[in-house]
């Protein structure tokens, strides 16, 4: 099973990185960009017996370690592994 987890700064938290990226894009001529937020993407491969079990475990990983609830929100998707390695 592969979990694709996205962790983003909460809206109330300053995101200087997002601001800087937007400015950088504007300098490069991407003036159409009105907002940028920068977060983390974490891909976790795990052994699990069922999707439900996996969901529970990944949720626990996120709330205990992968995201800090003071400053971050998270969500994730699960994917049954076809065969190959992770991208």
């Amino acid at each position: 099973m592969i979990a694709r987890i996205v962790v983003v700064p909460k809206p109330v938290v300053n995101d200087p990185q997002g601001v800087t990226v937007r400015q950088g894009l504007a300098l490069l001529g991407f003036g159409e960009v009105t907002e940028v937020r920068v977060g983390k993407y974490i891909e976790v491969r795990l052994d699990a017996t069922s999707e439900r079990a996996a969901r529970e475990r990944v949720d626990a990983m996120c709330s205990r370690l992968l995201a800090n609830h003071v400053i971050e929100d998270y969500h994730f998707e699960l994917e049954h592994e076809s065969k190959g390695a992770m991208r």
């Binding site: 700064p9 938290v13 300053n14 200087p16 990185q17 800090n68 003071v70």
Partner: protein, 234 residues
């Protein structure tokens, strides 16, 4: 007085803190290994600076699950002195022993430079040798030292007087341009409501000897020594 200095993989101020405790202050020094839950009878636990577990993912995120942290939590509950410096402050926030979080500097750059700190609380075990409103010159060295807490937490901190140090100018004025990292309310250090757990981003162990550029940091170490002496005589 026995100081315990915790060592995680990736910690680097352990030896600097140890040097000050042992060689400058002349107090008892005990290094505490992160895998070891025994606090070995220490009276004050220092969580030093560094990049525990590389600060990968988030500063302090992995370190706070080390066995030693559980004991430190219990020790703090019993009123023991816990002092987080730089990475140590980040670990204390991650572990919930202090509120809030430390995020990327507003400049997005690492900053290693001298800062001025105004002492807001001189009645703590960590600051008893300082005067209230005294300005200390102490260096910082971090990439993620911008203090954040939600509005409710922040106002509670202010109301309870839990802000111990703020970045200021040489005269002690708290100004936006004396804020090196974008911390809310120029916060450089906070204490828990009980007053026994201090977290601060600046490095007092780097300014305990004149040849390193200043001795203001030594006041904090002396304060802890002094408070212990008081406890013993009381």
């Amino acid at each position: 007085m026995k100081f315990g200095v915790v060592v995680f993989p990736g910690t680097w101020s352990d030896r600097d803190c140890g040097w000050v405790v042992d060689q400058v202050l002349g107090a008892h020094l005990q290094y505490l290994w992160h895998k070891d839950a025994d606090l070995k009878g220490c009276d004050c636990i220092i969580l030093p600076g560094g990049f525990a577990y590389g600060d990968y993912l988030r500063t302090g995120a992995i370190a706070r699950f080390a066995p030693v942290m559980e004991s430190i939590g219990e020790f703090a509950d019993r009123g023991g002195l816990v002092w987080g410096i730089c990475n140590g402050f980040q670990i204390l926030c991650e572990s919930g022993l202090l509120p809030g979080a430390l995020i990327r500097n507003a400049s997005l750059e690492y900053r290693c430079e001298w800062t001025n700190l105004v002492v807001e609380r001189a009645d703590l075990a960590f600051t008893s040798q300082c005067d209230e409103r005294e300005v200390l010159r102490v260096p910082i060295s971090h990439g993620e030292g911008s203090y954040f807490a939600d509005p409710a937490t922040l106002s509670r901190l202010e109301q309870n007087g839990q802000v111990v140090f703020r970045y200021c100018d040489v005269e002690g004025r708290v100004r936006p341009n004396s804020n090196p990292n974008g911390s809310l309310h120029n916060i450089a250090g906070i204490v828990n409501s009980r007053g026994n757990v201090l977290g601060m981003m600046p490095h007092p162990e780097r300014c305990a000897e004149a040849e390193l550029g200043g001795t203001d940091g030594l006041k904090l170490f002396r304060s802890v020594m002094h408070s212990a002496a008081q406890v013993l005589t009381a």
